[in-house]
């Protein structure tokens, strides 16, 4: 993996912020885009732009093919059977809402239980809270241990015959904790297993068959792709039984005055004009990542995390989540005693360094950690140890 060559593909990395070279450590929020993705989007609008499906003309045929190919590429990327298991949505949040409305709302009954964890992003918590209030479903929330890993003993104890859905993040967007999904699947084989892959699919090899999950959700913009397109993977037999999420154009087979039949998968779940160029951009992002290799992406981030943690440890610094890079994704949350986390982010920004500060859309977790927010540095393929050195030059000046 040649980082210097990779960096040349990202025009934004040449940008100066406050007179300093940009150091972008906010990759859990969104990633930067390589020219290959930017050009794929530009090329689509300049050469292929048309609405998809049912168009006879050449442009529509070509655009349809490109959009369908994007589904196939995603299916291959995560080891799905075929493109019928890949539904394009706006983002991870929408993907989870789709499962909540089209599967859980229809199939769960009062007294049934959903098991999730305290380390979830709001996107994998708030939809289930709504279901709890609307249908009397019991929402159970498993705790973490003090080292930021999931308390698997407690998790196991919380499973029973009423557990109908297990909704769990693959990698915590705050702690970086990597959850052992295979182990969790073994604990309960007959529950629906939804894995929030927003922070795992972009950063490590993920295979839906190996995890044996029923649903996997993730967003394109966190993996070099465009903003506004996300993915719901679902097992075909489940998706076929589920009712549509949105109704209207493009998701139908036949429409009469008072009834309709619906299109085959995945189109049954993609109502209205799709984010066609988003799909094209996502396909280009997958091509880019495949060229690097997802194991290489993971290894690179592991190295950066190890290097960063070694420099971060200090008696005035609180580090949240596991410190072993083997069980940690490419993000590190921390606080400097006596400082406000937003102030740290603001002072770093003065030197061109972008990190995130605040609750990271995981307020219950932050409360569990005894804080209202943290600073979070998160890495990707274009980040380097030299950037980490520059980061600590500034941070050390701040923390004194």
């Amino acid at each position: 993996m040649n980082i210097e060559e990779i960096r040349k593909d990202f025009p934004i990395l040449k940008r100066k912020i406050n007179g300093k070279q940009l150091i972008y450590f906010d990759n859990n929020a969104t990633t930067q885009k390589p020219v290959q993705v930017i050009n794929a989007i530009k090329n689509f609008y300049e050469t292929y732009n048309a609405n998809i499906h049912r168009g006879i003309h050449t442009l529509s045929q070509e655009a349809s093919e490109m959009y369908e190919d994007a589904h196939k590429k995603v299916a291959d990327f995560i080891g799905a059977n075929d493109m019928q298991e890949i539904i394009f949505v706006r983002n991870t949040t929408e993907a989870i809402n789709l499962v909540m409305y089209s599967y859980a709302m229809e199939n769960l009954e009062r007294g049934d239980e959903i098991l999730t964890t305290i380390m979830e992003h709001h996107s994998n918590l708030v939809p289930w809270q709504y279901l709890e209030q609307k249908k009397g479903i019991k929402l159970k929330i498993a705790d973490i241990k003090d080292d930021g890993t999931l308390d698997l003993d407690q998790f196991k104890q919380m499973i029973n015959e009423k557990t109908k859905i297990i909704a769990i993040t693959h990698i915590s967007n705050v702690l970086g904790t990597i959850n052992d999904i295979k182990k969790i699947r073994k604990m309960k084989k007959d529950a629906i297993l939804l894995v929030d892959g927003a922070q795992s699919v972009p950063h490590m090899p993920v295979n839906v068959k190996k995890m044996d999950c029923d649903f996997l959700t993730f967003s394109a913009h966190k993996m070099l792709g465009p903003i506004g397109i996300g993915v719901l993977y679902g097992k075909k037999e489940l998706l076929e039984k589920m009712k549509p999420f949105l109704y209207g154009g493009d998701m139908i087979s036949k429409v009469e005055q008072h009834k309709s039949t619906f299109a085959i998968l995945p189109w049954k779940f993609e109502a209205g004009t799709s984010n066609i160029v988003g799909g094209v951009g996502l396909a280009a992002a997958i091509d880019y990542l495949n060229k690097i290799g997802m194991q290489n992406v993971r290894d690179h981030e592991k190295e950066l995390v190890k290097y960063f943690l070694e420099k971060l440890e200090d008696r005035n610094t609180i580090i949240y989540g596991p410190k072993d890079p083997e069980i940690k994704g490419g993000c590190i949350s921390f606080n400097i005693k006596g400082f406000n986390y937003h102030d740290i982010a603001s002072l770093l920004d003065k030197s061109g360094i972008a990190i995130r500060s605040g609750h990271h859309c995981a307020q219950p977790l932050l409360k569990r950690l005894g804080t209202t927010g943290t600073c979070r540095a998160s890495f990707y393929i274009y980040n380097t140890k030299e950037e980490i050195d520059k980061f600590f030059d500034i941070l050390n000046k701040i923390r004194g």
Binding site: G338, F339, N340, H342, D343, S346, L347, S357, G358, H359, Q363, T372, G373, G400
Partner: protein, 89 residues
């Protein structure tokens, strides 16, 4: 007249959180910390708890407020900019 119009235009484009921040700084005799402002504005329930900090920086970009880092207090301290202070008077 021009200044009055400019002030009105600037005020109309402000969000409720931004107005709350300005009002806090106006009523304070000394610069206020990020922590203090965020806690006060959060109590008004105008949005997510992280938003006040975002709006502080937006107001700074607009030139309405300014910041200074105090090593002693380990905090960024915010106050109204001279330009905006003049507009208010």
């Amino acid at each position: 007249m021009f200044w009055k119009r400019k002030k009105k235009k600037e005020e109309d484009s402000l969000t409720l959180s931004e107005k709350a921040i300005i009002s806090l700084l106006q009523s304070s005799k000394k610069p206020l910390s990020t922590e203090f402002i965020c806690k006060k504005v959060d109590k008004l329930n105008l949005g997510c708890v992280d938003e006040p900090s975002h709006f502080l920086h937006r107001l700074e970009k607009k030139g309405i407020i300014k910041k200074e880092f105090s090593k002693k207090e380990k905090s960024i301290l915010w106050s109204l900019s001279e330009k905006y202070d003049r507009l208010l008077r």
